[in-house]
Symmetry: C2
Subunit: 429 residues, 2 copies
């Protein structure tokens, strides 16, 4: 069939399936080349893209200004995420250079050993293939996601929010030029250039072209992806994160970790939303914490026992324990012990990040082993749950799924391991 | 709501959703206990189940005889897979004992290292949770799958084929008793005891209870699962496996590997279905191979060049190159070189298992790195692609997916890795 820039069929309607098939076919061809690209070529592309982004700073800011002007109706937090400035552009470029310095995961062969049959069996790390990424507002995701997909030998099909279309296009141009410059296929990173929502539906249906979908955005996006995707999904649902202060906690560490986990940033998914504290230590730790939270303007909602401690604390309702506030609000519950704390986390948590503060080895060992979250912490702020902090370089997202990659998804999360068998004419008898 | 054995509602209709919710809730509760079960308890259960199966041999054979009697209308291969005998029962018990001897993957913590912030970050291997397994005919899958799920600290919800209902029930009883005996929850392995197909639909929709679905069976089952599952799927689609005889192949090794890959067993997914051979060596290797295949009654279908070599070879049509024969039929194509061979595998293959026979290091290196299949082999029969041969013990299936587990799925494929962060009161600044 003949196609035009926007895949309009004869009746003038947008043919989303044909549009995605065109991108998909190009991505599949490029994937073969990307899978065998040398580390040198991939790094050269990353560094060139960083240079291009710095060089195109004025153009990117102008494109972004158009997006921001169109976004006047949107809420402040969204406009903030959408807005680029010199610092954010510099950070994008730095991120790409940081990815170029990470070890290349592709080809790493592990556990190669002789089997009784005489063949050697091991595993080799390889790209997944074509990664679809659907995200909202933040244009910096365009550079981060492209960089990670490129370094891990994948091709990417990106669909940013329609509110950031101009910013994303400006960044995408820097990416294609960088790929070209390094002798890699420019279509290794493709960006959907239409805002028609049917294109997303067609992308989610295209399991013959797209190997995995990574959605980054609000609940309604994630729900749409769960319902419509016909390929595996690496998704982040929500972060209802807990800090549990065990009765054997050090008071100073408990104070520091509980305060930092809530107040270092309010709107991030690894921010603590519920503080659990063992009854035996609550009156030694809570009053000071309540004061500190109140000084910072954090609204506190507590269980009956917590409310009895301080009249500034509102009574929490059942829904509070399920809530991802993403705001200066904190739920506090006094629990009997570690068992009740872990039971609470199992029932109300979202398997994102949970922390115990304790000096007791037995409690630490149990919490680390038994709490089934993507990150489980001991005496450390939940805010550490982050690809940069974990040494992954950038992250393409934080997965709350239980298979493939859990937690921050970096280069390794964009690879798979195939089996390698080496014989010398061996046959099975 | 009140439930009866078969979840009949007041109108006498089967309420599949309620039926699955009951199993799911029980599985979720048992999953907490299984995740923290000691290696000792899990091994004790495995060994006891093996003993129970041997002890109940007469009952299992009687139950199986009922299934086989009911299966009179089914095709021979299916009846063969359904039929148990003393040897197959002994193999089931041996398989469970072998799983008890494998290292326990749970709790293994790797790559724990200090980050610049001062916290230690690593990864801990944990169970996935609740595994749903849908399979057909072979009752031995009941024991294998249960054993692997148990050892990896998961709970399982099993749905065998309705044709093997009595056999599976008899084996399931041995499993529950073994779990009980070891002090583990008997509901850690549950078997759907209804043949109503709506139960499968309800199971595939139950993403709140089931973390991953493993289908084992024919294409129509797999397609139903792809379309209906609302949770991740670890699936095996088909095995269109290739052997490529490179121009630098050793003639003896080429003969052995090509013959064994096709004829050691015809009906398995790791059997070669297409032989590719470099033109430069074809006249030195093919005549002898054609004779050997013909002596064993293998029907040969070739490209025009191959057909010119021997009048016994039929002309292959386009569909032959896509075909998983699972039968004594082989497609043969003469290719220019390794590039054309890899192009053929990319276009027609199913990313299951592909092998190169060569003495040339450069060709071996390229083939192993570039062929994107779950198992890639050098000078070894494709029949080695198997959980036992790879040292995994039993396998719950062979995955042709590209994320999570690829190839044979053993204990590790039934686990995930969570992040562990250890600090000493560390906060993020």
């Amino acid at each position: 069939m003949s196609t035009t820039a926007n895949n309009l069929d004869e009746a003038g309607d947008f043919d989303a399936t044909a549009y995605i098939a065109n991108l998909g076919r190009a991505a599949r061809v490029a994937a073969v080349e990307m899978a065998r690209a040398t580390t040198q070529a991939k790094n050269a592309a990353l560094i060139q893209i960083a240079t291009n982004i710095e060089g195109a700073k004025a153009d990117i800011l102008a494109a972004n200004a158009r997006d921001v002007a169109n976004a006047s109706g949107l809420e402040d937090a969204l406009v903030d995420r959408l807005t680029l400035n010199e610092h954010r552009i510099a950070t994008m470029a730095e991120g790409l250079r940081a990815i170029s310095e990470l070890p290349d995961p592709i080809g790493e062969t592990t556990d190669l050993c002789f089997r009784p049959s005489g063949v050697q069996v091991g595993q080799m790390r390889v790209p997944i293939g074509v990664i679809g990424i659907i995200y909202e507002s933040r244009p910096n995701v365009t550079a981060d996601a492209a960089g990670l997909c490129l370094k891990s030998g994948n091709t990417a099909i990106l669909r940013g929010g329609s509110e950031s279309l101009h910013s994303n296009s400006a960044i995408a141009e820097c990416i294609s030029n960088g790929l070209n410059h390094a002798g890699l296929p420019a279509v290794a990173v493709q960006m959907l250039d239409v805002s028609d929502r049917r294109a997303v539906g067609a992308l989610l249906a295209a399991h013959q072209w797209v190997d995995v979908i990574v959605p980054r955005g609000g609940k309604s996006l994630i729900e749409r992806v769960i319902n419509e995707a016909r390929m595996p999904v690496i998704k982040h649902l929500e972060g209802v994160c807990h800090v549990f202060i065990d009765e054997m906690a050090d008071r100073k560490k408990a104070f520091d970790v509980a305060l930092n986990s809530k107040t270092q940033r309010y709107g991030t998914c690894n921010t603590m939303e519920t503080l659990l504290i063992a009854r035996a230590i609550s009156d030694q730790v809570l009053p000071e914490l309540i004061q500190a939270y109140s000084d910072l303007g954090v609204e506190l909602r507590g269980c009956a026992e917590t409310c009895a401690l301080d009249k500034r604390i509102k009574r929490a309702v059942e829904q509070d324990w399920f809530e991802e506030y993403l705001a200066p609000i904190l739920a506090i519950r006094i629990v009997d012990d570690i068992d009740q704390a872990m039971e609470h986390i199992r029932h109300y948590g979202s398997q994102h990040t949970d922390c115990i503060v304790t000096e007791d080895l037995g409690a630490a060992r149990r919490f680390l082993a038994e709490v089934d979250s993507s990150s489980v912490m001991l005496n450390a702020s939940t805010r550490f749950a982050d690809g940069f902090e974990y040494g992954l370089g950038a992250e393409v997202g934080i997965s709350t799924d239980k298979i493939h990659a859990r937690g921050p998804v970096g280069l390794k999360g964009l690879t798979s391991q195939k089996w390698i068998v080496i014989g010398d004419g061996h046959i099975r008898t």
